[in-house]
């Protein structure tokens, strides 16, 4: 089966800087693919090259197996939902959605039928005669998607379309976008710097940094099995320590952090040698907290300390624990059982985690 969208060794240089550096990926039909990265990593450049607004310096873009490099943006079977949606303020909603169909030379009756159908599909029937600025943020969002979807593109590109919405609406639109994607059964390529948008909606995510793809995989892969230190640090929260490897034992290793804390971690198939400088990433939710030391005896990382801060945030509440040995602070998720509801600043606690939760990477020279 040919993929809907395939990029091969895509490269874009602006003068001396390489914005996109030999990126290859393919997106199967009907899937939701996200490119996640910090601002300035080159993800918008990729999107603009796929849409046809930029010519790649090197490489090829295939849509349904055919190269589209020589195809002008208005002829590509690709449509884009812009960051600020770019609805046409001089037209009403129906004309906005019908714009592409008019350009394709479709008859008036056919257009109005298709527009009504699209409005039904996005759950906003009967708003065709309204003006763009009479709609709410979420409604505009859906109209912008409908405007592209009536053209039945092979690939829909979305350029951080939720960025301008407030938090509550953004949460709802995430679910809605995913639902729209399966309803239209179209390939979505979504770019964002917001990891939760990418994690919630995507079938596959590419994490991008400085023009390169660091890792491509499912949300689960990225979260639990990051390939690189960048992915480990960028996706989700982590405690991060830097140290020197003191002992190697198969997939497990021991290291001494720069502050003198002994840590055990796993290398998950990566190569690290004795004496190398390494970074260890441990997720706050992987660390167990206990009142008694004995409860943690099965963990090979064990620390005792005092609570220095309580960060209450509902289900995502955390505490920061300063180790008694004075080697540093650890961020730990609080279990929701209520067992630790009486925790106050200064309480003595014990924390521990298994070495397989400590992802180790060779430290990049910095």
């Amino acid at each position: 089966m040919t993929a809907d969208l395939e990029c091969i060794d895509l490269e874009k240089r602006f003068g001396d800087t390489t914005a996109v550096d030999r990126v290859s990926f393919s997106v199967p039909q009907g899937s939701f693919f996200s490119i996640l990265g910090p601002s300035g990593c080159g993800k918008t450049t990729i999107m603009r090259m796929i849409a046809g607004f930029l010519d790649p310096s090197d490489g090829d873009i295939l849509i349904k197996g055919k190269s589209v490099l020589d195809v002008a943006p208005n002829k590509r079977p690709v449509n884009m939902v812009f960051q600020h949606l770019a609805l046409f303020p001089m037209m009403n909603i129906a004309d906005n959605i019908g714009y592409g169909l008019r350009r394709a030379g479709m008859g008036k009756a056919e257009i109005s039928r298709k527009v009504d159908e699209a409005l039904d599909r996005i759950g906003l029937p009967g708003i065709g005669a309204r003006k763009v600025d009479e709609l709410s943020g979420g409604q505009k969002q859906r109209v912008a998607i409908a405007r592209c979807m009536v053209l039945e593109p092979d690939v829909l590109l979305l350029d951080e379309p939720l960025g301008a919405l407030d938090l509550k609406l953004r949460e709802r639109m995430k679910v809605e976008l995913k639902a729209l994607q399966s309803a239209f059964d179209t390939t979505f390529v979504y770019i964002t710097h917001d990891q939760s948008e990418a994690l919630v909606m995507s079938d596959n995510i590419a994490v991008m940094n400085e023009g390169r793809f660091e890792q491509v995989g499912t949300a689960r892969d990225l979260y639990y099995r990051p390939d690189t230190a960048f992915v480990a640090g960028f996706v989700g929260d982590s405690n991060r320590w830097r140290g020197r490897v003191t002992k190697l034992d198969g997939q497990n290793l021991e290291l001494q952090s720069d502050t003198g804390m002994p840590l055990r971690g796993a290398i998950q198939g990566r190569t690290l040698n004795l004496g190398d400088v390494a970074d260890v990433f441990v997720r706050p939710e992987a660390i167990k907290i206990a009142h008694a030391k004995d409860d943690l005896s099965h963990f090979d990382n064990q620390l005792s300390g005092k609570v220095t801060s309580l960060l209450f945030n509902g289900a995502a509440s955390r505490v920061i624990v300063a180790t008694d040995t004075g080697h540093g602070e650890v961020e730990v998720n609080l279990p929701q059982s209520g067992e630790f509801a009486d925790l106050v600043k200064g309480s003595d606690v014990h924390i521990g985690w298994g070495s397989d939760h400590g992802n180790c990477f060779a430290a990049e020279a910095s």
Binding site: N74, K75, L87, P89, M90, Y99
Partner: protein, 285 residues
């Protein structure tokens, strides 16, 4: 407190009201009254529409009146056609320093007086002028060419004089159109022409209309350019007003002409607003 606020408001409004009443309202009322006077004897006047009647009965006056209106409209359209690509280039195609520099270049000619600028065109266009000499030097023509003192020369002068007043509102409105919207127009299948027609021009409409109104008014009321660049046949309505007031010393007829010009320009501007579905608040605000 309320009394103080009222006094403050009154004081703030006074300069504006004085300006409006002393320089605009009172003179116009006076001109209107003068235009309604008919001289029946030495120092004897009576109220009548005789001056307006003269205007409508004399073909030269009517003809000049129409000519001025048509040529001003034409100059407005030509200014728009030339200024639109220029404005689009300044507003959308370039960024940063180059943008300010180009904008400034549009402004530079306005640092010298209109008289000097018009003399500049005379130097270029006259029989012994630059263009004529270059053409002769290149061997394209046999003898000197006179390009001055005709309607074409007036057109060039009017368009040149008005350019800035079209470019400024156009650049302002075009700059407010996000690049995204233009790109969306292409992305959804539009080509250059349809994007221009359906997205760029509708968005720029307030700027186009306000630029056109200003340019049209300026051309209609221009005296210097038609007088200096136009020939004997190229009469401009403002010249008629001038000759009635200054040469003929017939203030009554001159005032009537002045009022006809006011009515003409108001009527055409109103018609243009109606035609394009714009309102004055929308275009000026």
């Amino acid at each position: 407190m309320r009394a103080e606020a009222k006094l403050g408001l009154a004081l703030l409004l006074t300069p504006l009201l004085m300006w409006l009443s002393l320089l605009i309202f009172i003179p116009h009322v006076d001109v209107f009254l003068v235009s309604l006077r008919e001289r029946v004897g030495v120092g004897q006047y009576q109220i009548s529409f005789a001056n307006y009647l003269t205007f409508f009965q004399e073909p030269l006056y009517l003809w000049t009146f129409l000519r001025t209106a048509v040529m001003s409209s034409l100059a407005t359209v030509m200014t728009l056609i030339i200024a639109f690509p220029v404005s689009y280039y300044i507003a959308k195609m370039i960024k940063g320093r180059a943008q300010s520099a180009l904008f400034l270049l549009c402004l530079v000619p306005f640092w010298v007086s209109e008289l000097v600028r018009t003399f500049g065109w005379m130097i270029l266009l006259r029989e012994t002028g630059v263009i004529s000499n270059v053409l002769q030097y290149l061997g394209l023509v046999d003898g000197p060419v006179e390009m001055l003192y005709n309607d074409g020369a007036i057109m060039i002068g009017l368009v040149y004089t008005s350019m800035l007043f079209m470019v400024v509102p156009l650049v302002t409105t075009l700059e407010s159109l996000p690049d995204e919207v233009i790109e969306a127009g292409y992305d959804l299948g539009g080509n250059g022409i349809s994007v221009l027609r359906e997205i760029i021009v509708p968005h720029a409409m307030p700027g186009i209309v306000s630029g056109c109104i200003v340019v049209f008014m300026l051309s209609l009321g221009n005296y210097l350019t038609p007088t200096m660049l136009g020939g004997k046949e190229s009469l401009w309505f403002t010249e008629l007003i001038y000759s009635q007031f200054i040469v003929r010393f017939n203030w009554e007829l001159g005032a009537a002409f002045g009022f006809m010009l006011l009515i003409l320009s108001s009527a055409i501007v109103w018609g243009m607003l109606k035609l394009t579905g714009q309102s004055l608040e929308k275009t000026m605000g």
